[in-house]
Amino acid sequence: MAAMPRNDLLLFAGFTLAVLTMPIWLAPFGAAYPDLLQRFMIFGIFAVGFNILFGLTGYLSFGHAAFFGVGSYAAVWSFKLLSLDVIPAMIFAIIVSGLFALVIGYISLRRSGIYFSILTLAFAQMSYNMAYSVLTPITNGETGLQLTQSDPRHLDSALAATVVGQPIPTLLGQSLGGFSGFYFCAGFLIIAFFLAQRITGSPFGMMLKGIKTNQTRMHYTGFNTKPYTLAAFVISGMYAGLAGALLAVTDPLAGAERMQWTASGEVVLMTILGGAGTLVGPVIGAWLIKYFENIFSAINDGILRRFFDFLPDGVDSAMVTVASKFVGEGWFLTLGLVFVIIVIFLPGGIMEGVRRIAHLFNRAPKAPGKANPQPQPAE
């Protein structure tokens, strides 16, 4: 900690403060309820980890939902077999998803660019289909893996702890419902952010940036880039596993849809929307997408009809018909549209927008590569 540069320390302190006070400053936006806040934390972790691979190293994985799903399944199995306590579940999920990432990464990283992306996508879709079919004994197929009264829970039974009613995950015997669940997840996001910040500012992090910028030069400079990219892949897979495990804590029903390619695509969008390669960008991207998903998917025709009520007859129903395509189930259409606009006009994501605005107020040029590395356009 003492060795941390002042800028990094300020960024970390600001981030921690912003996260912990979210229940206060998000209240005016109607987003200060625990269920949504927990999702902010979970997908924030997912995006921070994804950014280590994509933003820092330049490898675009289209299959990170596989690690997210594996983390969820591993956590639920830990609840079933070991204990309802969340700590062993977190550790177990991180280890299992890390091993899974090691295997998939080892094979996928034999290629780069688009071929790497396709390989990761193929592996994730294979995992998704296997979770639905042949792996049903482990994943419980379509129904999803859930906790039951009759689970063995060897660790708990050894400690003679009994569960009354529907079993739910706990932390040292305390339930993690409501805001305690949020603070639990927030703690992990803060740790995850801190580690990502350390990695970014380390010699290892600079090698990852070097690989992204010019892999040829890295080879001729004496670096074996394979273990670097594999390490980045495994680390980001572990982050995804941790996020998946936290989702299993809030909602102990792990289903295969968490591994689907749309879920993999979502974390790509979050990272690019916020600003790939920056530290806070991906977190902000995750928060925005989850926030607007929450709002837009809740809007139905009734709400739209009231909204367009002031328009003359005929016009209002036309407006409702058009607008209804963009809300509810059609939320992804809105997301896609926003994404297109961002990529065309702000390829560096929201962080680039922030930087441009800050630049208007502050003409003094900043040194490159400090707290926020320059964002790179998506590859």
Binding site: P5, R198, P203, N214, T221
Partner: protein, 254 residues
């Protein structure tokens, strides 16, 4: 006559691309501390030869030996770790990173080897490496630009920085692929001055060059390549006077 210490020996190397015999029967000995230039008209196989030496292309037959170690079959990063650095025709740099970081990365490669999981240390605590990089930048006259993004430098400055990236590793052998290609006269002259300055450090260099002005102001020895074969070998004066060379290269080009 004492036997000179041969650092690099390209032994009986052939390289074929399909039916094209790009390199035929190349035998080249580079002596320690010398600047050895390889010249030849376009398409003579100069770049192919360099790529065979550095491990980018495998030779069809023959081998390359560096200080008793066979290079053939090794990967570029392993060859670099043996003490061979390379300057490219188009500077290969980390365009998004600052000039200082560009020079720190090779210094870290030299210190930490091909891979080190060094993620819990802050880069800012690497004061030794940073100072080394700053000294190096001062040597090539670029200390004032250390915070600039390397991609925004001029061609000449990119080349100087790339040289600094190679020199900071204190390589035993430096390979230069047309170090002044595409440069203005002014940039060419500053690069020659810089290369002359390095020469006094006793580093062995192999230089591929088009520009005769560059070659004759730097080289101790010259090998002339034409149509994949070495047609002449010797000191600049010997080569200059060689009628075969004049016919194949100098006569045609000038």
């Amino acid at each position: 006559m004492s036997q000179p210490n041969v650092v690099l020996h390209v032994a009986d190397v052939h390289k074929r691309f399909g039916g094209l015999h790009a390199l035929a029967d190349i035998d080249l000995q580079v002596e320690e501390g010398q600047t050895h230039a390889i010249i030849g008209p376009n398409g003579a196989g100069k770049s192919t030869l360099l790529n065979v030496i550095i491990g980018k292309l495998p030779p069809s037959s023959g081998q390359v030996v560096f200080d008793g170690t066979v290079l053939t079959g090794r990967k570029p990063y392993q060859i670099n770790q043996l003490g061979i650095a390379r300057v490219f025709q188009t500077p290969e740099i980390f365009g998004d990173l600052s000039v200082l970081h560009n020079v720190m990365i090779p210094a870290l490669a030299k210190r930490d080897g091909a891979f080190k999981l060094n993620m819990f240390r802050s880069l800012d605590s690497e004061t030794g490496i940073r100072e080394e990089a700053e000294h190096m930048l001062e040597d090539v006259g670029m200390l004032g630009r250390r915070e600039m993004a390397a991609g925004s430098l001029s061609r000449g400055d990119k080349r100087r920085m790339e040289l600094a990236m190679c020199l900071i590793q204190h390589p035993r052998l430096l390979l230069l692929d047309e170090p002044t290609a595409g440069m203005s006269r002014h940039d060419t002259n500053t690069t020659i001055e810089l290369l002359k300055k390095i020469k006094s450090r006793g580093m062995t260099k192999v230089i591929i060059e088009h520009d005769m002005h560059v070659v004759f102001s730097l080289a101790d020895k010259i090998s002339v390549l034409a149509q994949g074969r070495i047609i002449a070998d010797g000191t600049p004066d010997q080569v200059r006077g060689n009628p075969k060379v004049q016919e194949a290269y100098l006569g045609g080009a000038h």
